[in-house]
Symmetry: C2
Subunit: 331 residues, 2 copies
DNA sequence: ACCCTCCCGGAAAGCGGTTTCCAAGTCTGC
DNA sequence: GCAGACTTGGAAACCGCTTTCCGGGAGGGT
């Protein structure tokens, strides 16, 4: 590999001068030398060794993002938003996927800490297990003690800057909207009980129904993915006229289940989701859902993480109910 | 930040010993010292500085993946496959997104080179511009000269290990299958002419029709995304009974266009795509397409890149025609 | 003309690890 | 009981770059 020393030698200058020319410095270098160095670097095909730079500078230009599953469009959108924001700051992005294993999440924070990344972004729901959350908090705290910065998209459980989707309120608004259409008997495909995002959405929905004086919904737990929605849909009681799946991907699974059983949506049963995943906007029937500005949230989380010292910030992001054809008005 | 020296001091041992205990070495360290070092590291919350390790070892444990767009499920699947494979090898992943800008792609190779990543994976179609391809090749060659490894998913145009989806053959098989159902008048929503993947799929389709003695299809160029499919669908001639969109996402756009216009699929017109994107499997009507094992391809590309020296490998990956309800049999 | 800045080039000290090379034990086998 | 082979701990060189500190020369004010 070509080193800076090779370049300096070839250009007949010192290491210091070569460094100043090639890797941005506040100091000026005379035009003649500057040209010689640049030419030498070009001829030799010099590429700075960033590991060495990081070590010498004591700061890297990499950030880390930890997501559960990149093939889940929810996380893809979040990550994409953060990556665009990172790109505008000239930062590189390291991505880790946990596949919903909290231990993996902790391990990634540790690894990213070891990498001395500038910031760590944690995307995705926390789990309700205080032991796990506690260990993650510790790991993050250690990282931050060493000057690392961190932010999270999801629940404010980690003591770091947080972009928090208003899951409860979004679900509540959705419930009110659906009730406004005349529905009274609901089911919630609620996902795993320990997943805070799922639990919050479910709770917000239930509370709103309660406030409206409507009967409590049938709550069906299961996996937080397409197949979870599919399976859960098959357990929905006959009296239910409207099903709320706590995310869009589950809602699509539920729609598939109904389609296979010959149950018409929305004629026989209405279905709503949450997130407004872009890739699913062309689904038929079009999904009623709560829109979350995922890309912005990812970008915002990065901004928060990078912003200089100030008290820990928690930003609520409101969702917007989007009524589409998967839901019908009861006469 | 806690350094190895701090740990060594606290444990009362030398730097060398501390290093050997904490960061895997071939050499043994006595149980007593080992315990002391481990305890000290734990108490202090030591995290090795990977930049320093990379520098000292001359090898990093990071790989780079360059994709066009993470929110495109095609790339998400590819990246996910590669990331899983990387995780089993204990490698970290750096992801760059180019948003289909070839300059960005080159820039990323340069940056990843500077990072001295172990391997670079380039995912996604090449463009037919020899100048751009040439510069990318050069950049890759430089990287490889320095001991870097590279592989690509797409066309064998870069002189590196390649996992090449059999776009021509897949499209040809699809054409034959569709012709077998009695279709004779086709349109191809062909994407951008300079995009090799799109061009290959289009060409394979046309050639197969030609061999069957069928009339040449109407070819409509446009963007390679959902909106491109939507727009192109509106230009399809009235005589056409079957539309081939060169990827699934475009096909979904086309379906949306037809739906809006009240054209029934498959009754009035049949539509087929390419890729068999998982997220779209629940689309209605279910999309006839050519299945590509995207995750495997991503994983395989990483394997190829990591494998020790041997001649450059090019592996064809066959697609499998999947007939679903978006296509009807002509009577 | 002289003194004081200011500017620019180079030498060298780190940054935080790894690893080679020594030296001092500790085991063996006879 | 002792030479020789192993094992284990430490000192120090080194990885490639940044940056401080110095010194010499040019420019400017009086």
């Amino acid at each position: 590999m070509v080193t800076l020393e090779d370049v300096a030698k070839q250009a007949g200058v010192s290491l210091a001068t070569a460094s100043r020319v090639l890797n941005g410095s506040t100091r000026q270098v005379g035009a003649a030398l500057r040209a010689r160095v640049e030419q030498a670097a070009d001829e030799l095909g010099y590429r700075a060794n960033i590991a060495a730079q990081t070590l010498a500078r004591g700061a890297s230009n990499v950030i880390g993002i930890v997501v559960h599953d990149l093939t889940d469009p929810y996380f893809a959108a979040l990550a994409d938003g953060a990556m665009r924001a990172a790109a505008t700051e000239g930062l590189l992005v390291m991505v880790g996927t946990t596949h919903r294993d909290p231990e993996q999440e902790i391990a990634y924070v540790r690894t990213l800490h070891a990498q001395r990344v500038r910031a760590v972004l944690l995307a995705g729901s926390r789990v309700a297990d205080p032991a796990v959350t506690g260990r993650l908090r510790e790991e993050l705290a250690r990282y931050q003690e060493g000057g690392g910065r961190a932010a999270c998209v999801g629940q404010d459980l980690l003591g770091v800057d947080t972009v928090a989707p208003a899951n409860r309120q979004g679900a509540a608004e959705l419930a009110r909207a659906l009730a406004g259409l005349g529905h009274t008997r609901f089911a919630v495909l609620a996902g795993p009980p320990h997943l805070v995002t799922a639990a919050d959405r479910c709770a917000g929905f239930r509370e709103a129904l309660d406030e409206l004086g409507l009967p409590a919904p049938q709550v069906i737990h299961g996996p937080f993915d397409r197949d979870g929605g599919y399976a859960a849909a098959n357990q929905v009681g006959a009296e239910v006229t409207c099903v709320f799946a706590v995310n869009d991907v589950m809602a699509v699974g539920a729609l598939a289940a109904y389609r296979e059983r010959g149950v018409r949506v929305p004629e026989d049963v209405s279905v709503a989701g949450f997130d407004d995943i872009v890739t699913l906007r062309d689904h038929v029937p079009a999904l009623t859902t709560v829109r979350l500005p995922l890309k912005d949230m990812g970008a915002r989380a990065l901004e928060l993480a990078l912003n200089e010292d100030r008290p820990v910030a928690v930003e609520q992001v409101a969702g917007e109910v989007v009524l589409r054809e998967s839901v019908r008005r009861m006469t």
